[in-house]
């Protein structure tokens, strides 16, 4: 691993992985406790439409994807806030339509054929320096907003009705954080791809949630777990010459599986320990 760090692309990949872990650990925890995984998936997929728009109209990639992702995020959040019971249907529609628009516009764009595989699995080994700066900036924004609005996020995520009664600007903060989710997704997709982002948003926070007593700890533990998955995944991918994104996912999934089995075993042991000793009736 050490000799691998002599290559600049490897150093960049490492940095990108660490920032992606921080962003995913924080917003992933927000997404998981608010049961917004489907919405995050919807944003990630509809953002693909932004790539099509960017190529077709010749505007910068980041403008196209950020624009579409933010628009999708605002529409989806609006639906979630006003018609919760129908939200999943609307998200499903936007999800599919976004991808379809992306593909049609790419068909119509002359001479360019973006590799769908690289959108799905990213290209962490080809991350430009500029993307790392973007991610560093976004990480700072996410950490600061979470610190500043921590109590509000906690109240909104746990019991939004009560938060509203206390005068917390629920809708505003909800929009703000889902916008952060959207921006985070767009930046990280380039690095680790669509599939890995869903994995990083869900697996580390889900494991962390089980062992943490507070949302703040959950965010920290999820970030650390995510970093561990990224580093070990990259290392394995480097050693065996595998696709890095897919390797990281399998490492995370392996940890998820181990934590689940460990939980089941622990539960069983606890139960056995609690059971009163079988009394033998002398008569």
């Amino acid at each position: 691993m050490i000799e691998a760090l002599e290559f600049e692309f490897m150093r960049n990949a490492l940095m990108a992985g660490l920032f992606a872990s921080l962003i995913c650990g924080m917003i992933g925890s927000f997404v998981v406790v608010n049961r917004l995984v489907f919405l995050a998936g919807g944003i990630a997929h509809s953002a693909f439409g932004g790539i099509g728009i960017a190529f077709f109209f010749g505007i910068p990639y980041l403008v196209g994807t950020l624009g579409v992702a933010l628009a999708a995020a605002i529409i989806m959040t609006g639906v979630v806030l006003t018609r919760k019971s129908r939200a999943d249907t609307f998200i499903g529609i936007l999800w599919a339509v976004g991808m379809a628009i992306g593909i049609i516009l790419m068909d119509l764009s002359p001479g360019y054929n973006v590799n769908l595989m690289s959108y799905l699995f990213g290209s962490i080994l080809a991350v430009p320096k500029s993307d790392i700066y973007w991610m560093a900036g976004l990480s700072a924004v996410i950490v600061l907003s979470t610190y500043f609005f921590y109590r509000d996020i906690l109240a909104i995520s746990y019991d939004d009705e009560f938060a509203r009664l206390r005068g917390v600007p629920v809708n505003l903060i909800y929009f703000l954080f889902i916008a952060l989710v959207a921006v985070g997704i767009v930046l990280i997709i380039r690095v680790v791809g669509l599939i890995l982002i869903i994995a990083l948003l869900t697996i580390p926070p889900y494991i962390a949630e089980k062992y943490c007593r507070s949302l703040a700890r959950m965010m920290i533990v999820a970030t650390l777990l995510s970093m561990a998955f990224n580093l070990s995944g990259l290392w394995i991918a480097y050693c065996y010459d595998l696709t890095s994104g897919a390797t990281i996912i399998l490492v995370a999934a392996g940890a998820f599986f181990i934590s689940m089995v460990a939980d089941m075993v622990l539960k069983k042991l606890k139960k056995q320990g609690k059971e009163p000793p079988v009394s033998v009736n002398p008569t």
């Binding site: 406790v33 509000d152 906690l154 995520s157 938060a163 600007p169």
Partner: protein, 253 residues
């Protein structure tokens, strides 16, 4: 009658076209201890949500402390009925109670004072020793007490408790009602409940809600009220409450 702190006039509310509440009038004077009784689906919780401004009436007006409900909701301590939502959430008991101290206009979200107030609220419900536990680790009854502590944390003028005793054992109930009686000296209290028998020795007024509302500003619960409220005869057994004489109320109620 004293100036009402809760003033509901001719309120109608329907959901998806079916009427839930019709022509509700309710004037609760300050420091009253009101019980909302009535069958499931009779509209008790809906009325509570209207009083909090979480729902808006189709017709009629609601004034709490002379203002529209949404303007004064932060001065009402509210404990909702359903505690099972978001059970696995990673949050400590103290953090749940601290939610009750949130306000719209402060940059410092949690001060020492807030923590002290939250701990005091927990103490009044005998739950202080659990303050660092994860909410998920508590039993249903303990969770309910935490939510009542959250309602008390901001020292509200009105307490609105929606079925606070559904999961609490009889010792806990007596303890809670004695606490409420104590709090009633400075606060107006509204309790939605089915334990009419326990209630009747604590409350100062009863509102029977079953799409419409009948208000009795004397605390006895009569057979007639039960029949009307629940639409089927409910046996009234008054355990050791000798002052409770079940009289019929006049027609025109």
């Amino acid at each position: 009658m004293k100036h009402p702190i809760i003033d509901v006039r001719n309120v109608y509310f329907s959901y998806n076209g079916s009427p839930i509440l019709t022509n509700i009038c309710l004037q609760v004077p300050e420091k009253e201890f009101v019980a909302f009784i009535g069958p499931n689906g009779g509209g008790k919780t809906t009325l509570v949500k209207l009083l909090l401004g979480l729902l808006a009436p189709d017709q009629g007006t609601i004034r709490i402390m002379d203002k529209p409900p949404s303007k004064v909701a932060h001065r009402i301590g509210y404990a909702p009925q359903d505690m099972s939502i978001n059970k696995a959430f990673p949050i400590s008991v103290l953090d749940v109670v601290l939610m009750g101290r949130l306000s719209a206009h402060s940059w410092v979200r949690v001060s020492r004072k807030d923590i002290m107030a939250a701990e005091k609220a927990l103490e009044s419900l005998e739950m202080k020793e659990y303050k660092d536990r994860k909410i998920d680790d508590l039993s249903g009854g303990q969770r309910e007490r935490v939510f009542i502590a959250r309602a008390l944390a901001a020292d509200p003028e009105i307490l609105l408790l929606d079925e606070p005793t559904a999961n609490i054992d009889s010792h806990g109930r007596t303890y809670l009602y004695n606490l409420l009686k104590e709090l009633n000296r400075t606060k107006t209290i509204v309790v939605v409940s089915h334990d009419t028998m326990v209630l009747s020795s604590y409350v100062t007024a009863v509102a029977c809600i079953n799409r419409d509302l009948h208000y009795h500003d004397e605390a006895e619960i009569t057979q007639e009220m039960m029949d009307m409220g629940y639409h089927c005869p409910v046996e009234l057994i008054a355990h050791g409450i000798p002052h409770r004489i079940l009289k019929t109320h006049g027609s025109g109620e």
